[in-house]
Amino acid sequence: MPDTQPNLAKPATASAPTTTTTSPVSEHITLRVKDFNAWYGAYQALHNITLNIPSQRVTSLIGPSGCGKSTFLRWINRMNDLVANARAQGVMQLDKDDVLDRAFDVVELRRRVGMVFQKPNPFPKSIYENIAFGPRLHKRFHRSDLDALVEQSLRAAAIWDEVKDRLHNSALGLSGGQQQRLCIARAIAVGPEVLLMDEPCSALDPRSTASVEALIRELRQTFTIVVVTHNMQQAARVSDLTAFFFEGKLIEAGPTDGMFTNPKNKQTEDYVTGRFG
């Protein structure tokens, strides 16, 4: 169960989390990216990104605004297909499947790679319908199986106890933090392998932020998680691996402890110590 009492008394320094029990680098790589370039029209947003995202770990992408981390994230589940003049080139493989291939089923990709957005965006339906919407798209369910799946997803997102008595109320009646956890529950209901989170806590108050961060650490056991954040302290609290982006290039990537205590690159050091950003 996540903490409901965030330890706000502890100073938020850019230090490594003290409770890492698993090795930050796992043997299995879920997402392989090699020489990946992306453009918006004539503007090149990403230059030759090479990065391996390990499975069942939290990887955070940090960097100043406009450095391309959100662009990179949105290419993993091909959400950039919605942008008219976006194109990409290079190698991006999800467990041996080429993500960028035009013939690859984008619908199946998005079932395997879920996304949580910066501003919580629940559907204007009931809480139950929000969670049930995704699974119903992909297969037929008996009512009892669907009920069980909804409960399981809401429990996994640490929001079951708060909503179990009002499943058929509108999701828009929840608070911001609850809505974001609902969106996380909605994303995990379809059974993805990877969860992408684009600044999931930036629209939330500190208490909700703490509960979502605890949830992310918990979900790591089941999913591969990639979090974009412009809050370095959050990256330090939450992630096992960190990748630092700057002006469309990947400057440095490695275990989070090492990145913050002993960065190899001067630019990384300047960013994490707050000299610019």
Binding site: N77, M79, L82, A84, V107, E108, R110, R111, G114, M115, F117, K119, N121, P122, F123, P124, F133, G134, L137, H138, S170, L172, C183, R186, A187, A189, V190
Partner: protein, 333 residues
């Protein structure tokens, strides 16, 4: 120039602008009130029974309350004699032709809007289509009458111009009996009105779909919904209240159209309600036009009475649209 007089000037300008706005608003309301009042006065002779009116209001006999309105006006057919004339055929014809128009225009218009907004790529061709639709919404409706005449009434002369050489489908007494060319029947009228109303429905439906926040679409696509599933299960339900409002307003426009039906040649005098889709009909605006064009003063009064009925119908339509919009509106984000 001292600071005080600059400040006074600013305040005066503010007051002058407020006064101007108030004047414009009052002038508009005054003109509308005068219009309605004059129509009511002119039309009251054929709408109300004067003896019943005086009985109720002067003597307080409430038993005469239902006799105040001349119901014969609503149930009689048109006649050479003003006292015997009524708008029954016109009302029934209006209802029929608006129903046909709605059944044709709404699915086609809403479907087009969904395609253009959710599925069509955004390039020069779709921009051209969009531009054309917006222009068509502003075309005077009589032009659609000419199109309807050529395409539906005469069908480009493909089936001959003689009424005897027309192709017919279905038994003569069935409601769905159709003759090609459509002639001046209900189907031709409904199709012509559909042409008038279609651009309006497309534009208002597109605006309704655009008003749905894109964050909802992105959320839906991100959990693996296809564009069609997103459009039909998320976007369309969220846009339904606005689409409905637009549809009702488009229908109230269709109900007031006389010019296109004039051009396709609907009969001036009709003494029965339509039996099938190819039968002759008349509509309320056209009946008003007929009566207003006659020299006798009593026909002008009849026209005014019919205008009152039409106005009441339009107010009801718009009222329903506003009520539905308020009732069905709910937050989307």
């Amino acid at each position: 120039m001292s600071a005080i007089s600059i400040r006074t000037r600013r305040i005066l300008k503010n007051r002058a602008f407020l006064a101007l706005c108030l004047f414009s608003t009052s002038a508009t309301i005054l003109i509308l009130a005068l219009l309605i009042a004059s129509i009511m006065v002119q039309g009251s002779y054929f709408l109300f029974n004067s003896d019943a009116l005086s009985a109720v209001f002067a003597h307080g006999e409430l038993s005469q309350l239902t006799k105040i309105i001349r119901w014969e006006f609503l149930t009689n057919f048109a006649s050479r004699f003003p006292e015997k004339a009524g708008i029954y055929a016109a009302v029934i014809g209006s209802l029929w032709v608006c129903a046909i128009c709605a059944l044709l225009a709404l699915p086609l218009g809403i479907g087009t809007a969904i395609y253009l907004e959710e599925f069509a790529p955004k390039n020069r061709w779709t921009a051209l289509v969009d531009f054309n639709i917006r222009n068509l919404a502003g075309v005077p409706s009589i032009v659609y009458g000419i199109l309807g005449l050529t395409a539906f009434t005469r069908m480009f002369g493909l089936f001959g111009s003689d009424k005897n050489s027309a192709l017919s489908f279905g038994p003569d007494n069935a409601w769905w009996h159709i003759q090609l060319p459509f002639g001046q029947g209900l189907l031709a009228g409904g199709l012509t009105l559909m042409l008038v109303v279609l651009p309006i429905v497309i534009i208002s439906s597109r605006e309704a779909l655009r008003a749905v926040p894109s964050s909802l679409r992105q959320a839906s696509l991100a959990i693996g919904a296809t564009p069609w599933q997103t459009a039909s299960k998320i976007t369309l339900p969220a846009a339904i209240p606005s689409i409905l409002t637009g549809a009702i307003l488009a229908m109230s426009r269709a109900m007031g159209e006389a010019a296109p039906l004039l051009v396709i040649g609907i009969p001036v005098f009709i003494a029965n309600t339509p039996d099938n889709l190819n039968d002759n009909f008349t509509v309320l605006p056209f009946q008003i036009f007929n009566w207003a064009g006659r020299p006798q003063e009593s026909f002008h009064q009849l026209a005014a009475s019919a205008i009152v009925v039409l106005l009441i119908a339009l107010i009801c339509f718009n009222g329903v649209a506003v009520y539905l919009r308020q009732k069905l509106r709910k937050p989307l984000a």
